[in-house]
Amino acid sequence: MKQQEEVGEHQATEWVNTHGDALYAFAVTRIKDKELSKDLVQETFIAAWKGFKQFRGEASVKSWLFSILKNKIADHFRRQKWSATEIGDYNDQDPFFDAHEHWAKTTSPKTWEDGADTLLENQEFYKVLDYCQGKLNTIQRAVFSLKYVEEMGTDMITDELNLSQANYWVIMHRAKLQLRACMESNWFITR
């Protein structure tokens, strides 16, 4: 009995050490919440562990774990009701435009001096970009990481996050306006 337990622990350790980080990175990219991502990965391991008898080894352990995690993430987004404040509404009065929907004076785009070629090699620039992305809300950050890290198209993103196309564009529009303004005041203007 004791021996069996040790074999079990050895197996569990191997699974977690081999696949834990990859599963966690996959979850964090989508959910943008570290604690919740850890919980889902833990649930994934437990579900896989309990269902090990059903696992016939047709797929690799890795793809089996990922398919469980993907289901858990999809469940999460199906349950999640994005609040109106997180998504925003196209008709909301926002700080970027005036009552006629033209650029408000203070927040209108200023000239950016730095040339793109040198900028994209500058590590400091990416730190500021990180900082500004960090200021976006959860759903905006989730959309960004699926688009720019996972390189998903709009249809896949709306599927994964359970969003309508209209909501997606409101989120993307607002996020880009915020990111642009943040980069301008923290990088381009201060220099």
């Binding site: 569990a12 966690y24 850890k38 990965v41 209108s108 529009h173």
Partner: protein, 84 residues
């Protein structure tokens, strides 16, 4: 006819983003094209957005890793589950 082609800056910036997906109708494309000729601010937004896209595409996301504590917790929870 002329009035119809005029769009606001809010609309123009939305069209700029949608055009990345090739999602604009022909009349939307015409409206945007016309707006960008007359609006310096939106022209700037367009250029700056292109630059930000390049940076976002190039940026390598710091890959998230679990701590040893997290991993041990997971292993424990699995082993305990099996013993129930």
């Amino acid at each position: 006819m002329f009035v119809k082609i005029m769009i606001t800056c809010k609309k123009a910036t939305e069209y700029i983003l949608k055009s990345e997906d090739g999602d604009l109708t022909n009349s939307q494309k015409r409206s945007l094209w016309f707006h960008l000729i007359i609006c310096r601010m939106c022209k700037r937004f367009d250029r700056q957005n292109t630059l930000l896209n390049a940076a976002l595409n190039k940026k390598v996301g710091a890959s998230s890793k679990l701590s040893d504590d997290d991993k041990n917790k997971m292993i424990r929870s699995m082993v305990e589950e099996k013993n129930d």
